[in-house]
Symmetry: C4
Subunit: 217 residues, 4 copies
Amino acid sequence: MTMREIVAGLHAELVRYNLVAWTAGNVSGRIPGEDLFVIKPSGVSYDELTPRNMVVCDLDGNLVEGEHSPSSDTAAHAYVYRNMPDVGGVVHTHSTYASAWAARGEAIPCVLTAMADEFGGEIPIGPFALIGDDSIGQGIVETLKGHRSKAVLMRNHGVFSIGKDAKAAVKAAVMCEDVARTVHVARQLGEPLPIPQDDIDRLYDRYQNVYGQRSPR
Amino acid sequence: MTMREIVAGLHAELVRYNLVAWTAGNVSGRIPGEDLFVIKPSGVSYDELTPRNMVVCDLDGNLVEGEHSPSSDTAAHAYVYRNMPDVGGVVHTHSTYASAWAARGEAIPCVLTAMADEFGGEIPIGPFALIGDDSIGQGIVETLKGHRSKAVLMRNHGVFSIGKDAKAAVKAAVMCEDVARTVHVARQLGEPLPIPQDDIDRLYDRYQNVYGQRSPR
Amino acid sequence: MTMREIVAGLHAELVRYNLVAWTAGNVSGRIPGEDLFVIKPSGVSYDELTPRNMVVCDLDGNLVEGEHSPSSDTAAHAYVYRNMPDVGGVVHTHSTYASAWAARGEAIPCVLTAMADEFGGEIPIGPFALIGDDSIGQGIVETLKGHRSKAVLMRNHGVFSIGKDAKAAVKAAVMCEDVARTVHVARQLGEPLPIPQDDIDRLYDRYQNVYGQRSPR
Amino acid sequence: MTMREIVAGLHAELVRYNLVAWTAGNVSGRIPGEDLFVIKPSGVSYDELTPRNMVVCDLDGNLVEGEHSPSSDTAAHAYVYRNMPDVGGVVHTHSTYASAWAARGEAIPCVLTAMADEFGGEIPIGPFALIGDDSIGQGIVETLKGHRSKAVLMRNHGVFSIGKDAKAAVKAAVMCEDVARTVHVARQLGEPLPIPQDDIDRLYDRYQNVYGQRSPR
């Protein structure tokens, strides 16, 4: 599959898991071996996305190929690719529960084993940042560089997630909303029990290593 | 596409985004250059809507064309078209979270960047008004005229949204429920952080101008 | 359409509106001019319902026609048909929000115009009653006879709704869950504003009469 | 149908009832008359599951047949089959509401007649246990052996459910999430009314015996 096909197809997962309303969410994927990435065109509905109408940008976010304008979040994606060379995919959503934690500026505490597996601890809060320059990209990179979590809750905004490729970034976005919702629901009726840091570390190590060695698809 | 096709088709978005139960929600679109609008027929289920069974009304809400009665909310749509000449589309729903804010008579505070983009501030509350005369239409127009928000929460009732055309009004209805839900969820566990008015203004200006110039579909 | 076709088809609405899990919910319809009604077979999944596998019972709940056993709630449906001659349809669900009000034994207050339209006031609580004899049927009839509401929340159990025919009873079940959810959500963050009794009366009269005369489908 | 077909097909129910995100949930079924069970392969998405890519394990959890690795939860399934000879099916999910009760370490109280029918009382909490040895399996068996409930909420983790066959275990997982959600919603606005133990016993006996004798599908 070409990167255009992969990125176009992965948007269907954002729809399937109810992470997006109207056109407010986007996936991008780095083209291996080139300083380019494929991203959603701006303002096109998910039903109308095809490999053909995807757009290609360089790492400064300039349009290189495509008939539509790139997503209005392109500068943030580009900043991440420029500054995190191991990142092969970026996803942005305003998914409900994650954005609600972001609106309060509260990190999601790690009280579920699935969260320890996937995120290795809490999902952190990034700064409040306006669109229009590199502020959002900087906020993402400063928060996620060196952090186990592959997702960041940008204050009063929404989620950015990263991964070794576009599919891994989509998985992180899906899991982020899933745990954001479960921990929210748990907290509505009391305080979730903490998981000791040692156990979080063991779960994370195992999931990233043992589980990873089985190369799950 | 004819206005009948557009309006019939847009009702599917109300269903897709879970804004309506049974037959309780409707879209209308002004016919460009004529003092007429197309609206949903009364009591017909969303599965059975076709361009053919849409009805056409004049700006006093009188049936001009169609075999069915127009939606019982037609008078409110007509009042908006008569009094807001720039409005080309109107949508009414009882979507859950927006209607819950309406039941408490509370405006939705602007604590999300997506809300600043789309609504330019809070989503306001309109008066309590009974169906049967122009009270609902008046309440909508008095609340929205000169307001940035394209949606109003009618007290103890539901949402009316407007737009330059029917699709824009549907987008406003979808985004209204989306932010109503996210801000509700945020408030369930504490107080969302405010966004400074200056930043709201910057986000709104950019979205309406810069983003708009790209003419997103 | 035969009553078997109508009743089989209406179960799809319970699924569409998420009112049922697994096989826990059923629709019945009285056969006009006969002391018989059609009801869902017991334990058959909604995917497998066909006009053919519907069962026919007499007004004592005895199986008259059909290869499967009738729904385990048949005695309650039969009791309603015996004691409320104007009722042509009965629906039973454990829909989430309505059942939550039922678990607390709290009637749903009428704080939405859609609720005034459809139910004419609060949705009342019926008694706690065990399955196995006429207790449930008696509780439904005692609560709904002479009441405007077409739905009753049976304590610690779920919803029974009635209508002039099976489709009207399904509509009442759908609207009951819809308002149960919206009023629940409204109450989570404060107290909904009351609607004056006079206005509730006006809305109810209009919806039942004016709206009804248009014979909506 | 072969056990591979049954187990592959039942995963669609986990998706339909929104019990799973991405690949996080699995069903297994014991092969009658053999010390083997069929289980989901690890990391394969629900869309791609077929009878062919299911895997077969022995009761120690060793792969006996199949091209993929078995689910990372296989050791827990295997422990249950080894120690509960009457169990013919096991299901594991991180369904939202059940996992939220599990995160607080709170059993779900029996305040709904559907819960008395299906679970015969509360749904209990199992211990916190790490993946990697028999701890999870032991926790499940110690909690459910001799208990009426067919589901256990593993602390800070999720749900395991059992049944006489794989379909019954899936039903228990679906009903567990359904009652977890309804009781959660009920508790959000006050205290649900208790059901006397006598009545719980009567409902449970009737559902397991009378209802069971009708052999519902």
